[in-house]
Point group: C2
Chain length 439, copies 2
């Protein structure tokens, strides 16, 4: 246990007033600085670093491309045809959504995809300048719109699940300024999965108010309550793309294929969106008047001249292997579900509870992330973020607070990526025991 | 020769009013559509696609990294330490400039570097919102500031070489709004190289008016009039970094190592700029208060979560091989110089002249690009861009006009990357012969 005086000293040394306002890197830095006082390593529950080996099909295909010398040539900024075809097939196999290869565009990770999409979404139509985030979500998306000076609004789904979501969305959409409804599904940090009912509401309202839905599917198929692992076979993960033509989907190789170092994803456009006429963009950039054409040749090209050439071979090979049933990327990921289940049990044993706990009537899936709260014995209310994380840090447990993840609830986000051995869980158990005894 | 009626029909079919306003992709599309009429392939002088094989040291190192499984992990967004060290050594070896590894940050090509730099440069200090381009330059830089809504001003160096540059720069800098002076050296499209005298003026004025110099060194060392190929040995290419601490340098692997498909470059910060205190950015993003820290953790992170992991090994290996004298990247590039010399001779034979022809008192270097004008026999003046390119296209020669490259002069840009065989030059010769006979 770390004495309070040491803890406050370390915070001060790092220029941090409140640990609940620190970002993930600052939390890590504080934990590293406190390890000498603790005398042993922290339990790291903050990092979302996939710990599985990269998909071997990707590595082999990329090596072969290097041997053929592809790095001497820029890849097509629209994506190499073989990858665009593989992506379209993948989308059909695992989402039951049909798009043409043209509509599948590789990006330098979903990070670049969202960054460039925010720009085109906020510029393509006069007066539509606002992104509506369904939160909690990936904090980087909020930073992106801040950097780009794009107007954004958001709400926390906690109190607006199911049919309640309709009125909440309409409250924002009625202004006519919303160009896009943006969310992750399953989401980081809560692992909540929007239900088919909710996605249908989103799609209906997107059509009604002419807003474009962007679904970040970084954790595609990883709602382990159903088996989404069989290509071209139901069940398929619910998606708004089933109910509207106003959609874009972001599919990243980082988690699905454990290929985060390859920085590659696919932005999938609904064929209708891809062909949207955008005279405003033609006027501004003089290039082309379609949404898809501008996305590729104006926004993506200017952002990085496209995506790494050899990595496109990797992603195509991995997608093809998944479509052909040679790998089961959902099964590979179930390890995270097993870890989450075990980790939740350890927390539960010490009185913690899931903050975001249900999708509709169903308990949440076990996955990469979950959220934990704790009733403060002094108040009988959920312990506030600041107090909760301060005490956990003093017991050698590092995490991030929910308020840094665009949530309005009290609690912490847990990521199970660093928990692999029995010893990790035993250590966590011991430290939570100490936490409950802290005065 | 293509009849005028066919030419105007093809333009109309492509929705192009004037070929001198078409971008490079449109010019290519027009040339492809006219090939059936011509009956044989065009001579392509528009594309800047390096035609040399990728540096083998890069390929081998990247393959080895893939074998070790690095794609499963995000690379450090600040760059992997081994690459940062290699880059700092490379900068010292080939520019005689000392920076710490910390100041060398990998990006997804220089395209991402300029994109992200424009953002931080225009945001880091209140009231400094304007980029000053020294043109002609890379048109994509102008598109980038347009996309980002950043104010930019520019001037064509044609009439402002040498000491004349001082007054011209001061004219713009006096407003106090200029955050950055941005240029490429050698530059695309003219292959003009700013002289030591000019770079000193830029540096002095950067200090006087507190503007940050950004030098895009995509073609580092490729001024073949001097031998810049020996690591740690003079002569070194002149750079403003010799005369001011307010600099950033962009070093791309695309041309130097023929590794364009790898999309990797290094943004090099002067140690002083890297440590700049930027309270405005701390306030806006809440992360850190240094220029370098914000560049990496706010702008680069949000743009793509850093650079591909395996490619960082490639670039480090290529930089190390160059520093250790195992490869001579300047010598490898001289092929382009030889092509330019020969190509200029063919054009000269038919009465064409170099538009941008001298750096100070010296004739321009032969390199990747050059500019060509032609006196219109009807007016005795330089033939206008529109007429010049229309006639060349009708003779089966594709290029882009200078007005699309931020130049105010009449003429075309020639890139020699596609000219490799004797037959290419003979075909060019024959077609220019036809051009001179066109009425």
């Amino acid at each position: 246990m770390i004495p309070e005086s040491d803890y406050t000293r370390v915070l001060r040394e790092h220029g941090i007033d409140k640990i609940s306002q620190a970002n993930i890197r600052q939390c890590v830095a504080v934990s590293k600085a406190m390890e000498p006082v603790l005398g042993e390593p922290f339990v790291h529950l903050e990092f979302g670093v996939p710990g599985l080996p990269a998909c071997q099909y990707g590595i082999e295909a990329e090596k072969a491309a290097l041997e053929r010398g592809v790095p001497n040539t820029y890849a097509n900024v629209a994506g190499e045809p073989f990858l665009k075809e593989a992506a379209a097939r993948f989308v059909e196999a695992f989402l039951d959504i049909k798009v043409t290869p043209e509509c599948c565009v590789p990006t330098v990770g979903s990070m670049q995809a969202s960054y460039t999409l925010f720009l085109i979404l906020s510029q393509y139509e006069k007066g539509r300048d606002t992104i509506l985030f369904i939160d909690p979500g990936f904090p980087a998306h909020h930073t992106q719109v801040n950097i780009l000076g794009i107007r954004a609004i958001s709400f926390d789904i906690y109190n607006y699940r199911g049919q309640k979501m309709r009125a909440k969305l309409e409250e924002y959409l009625q202004s006519g300024r919303v160009c896009s409804i943006f969310y992750s599904n399953p989401n980081n940090p809560t692992w909540a999965c929007l239900t088919d009912e909710e996605l249908k509401i989103i799609a209906e309202l997107a059509d009604k108010y002419d807003a474009l839905v962007v679904e970040d599917l970084a954790y595609l198929g990883m709602d382990f309550r159903k088996d989404y692992s069989k290509p071209f076979q139901p069940p398929f993960p619910p998606t708004a793309a089933k109910y509207t033509q106003r959609y874009m989907l972001l599919i990243s190789a980082s988690k699905i294929f454990s290929y985060a170092g390859g920085r590659i994803a696919i932005a999938v456009f609904s064929p209708r969106v891809f062909k949207f006429k955008t005279p405003l963009l033609k006027e501004r950039y003089g290039l082309t008047d379609t949404f898809g054409g501008n996305y590729i040749y104006t926004y993506l090209y200017s952002s990085s001249s496209g995506t790494v050439h050899s990595t496109q071979y990797a992603l195509a090979a991995m997608m093809n292997a998944a479509v052909e049933g040679k790998i089961n990327f959902v099964e590979d990921m179930k390890e995270y579900g097993r870890r989450a289940k075990r980790c939740k049990e350890v927390f539960g044993k010490h009185g913690f509870y899931l903050v975001y706990d249900k999708d509709g009537d169903e308990p949440l899936s076990d996955g990469f992330f979950f959220t934990m709260g704790y009733i403060d014995p002094e108040t009988g209310q959920p312990m506030e973020c600041e107090k909760l994380l301060s005490r956990l840090m003093r017991c050698g447990i590092c995490a991030i607070t929910l308020n840094t993840t665009c949530s309005e609830q009290e609690g912490i986000r847990i990521c199970v990526s660093k928990l692999s051995s029995d010893a990790d869980y035993e250590k966590l158990d011991k430290r939570l025991e100490e936490f409950t005894k802290l005065k």
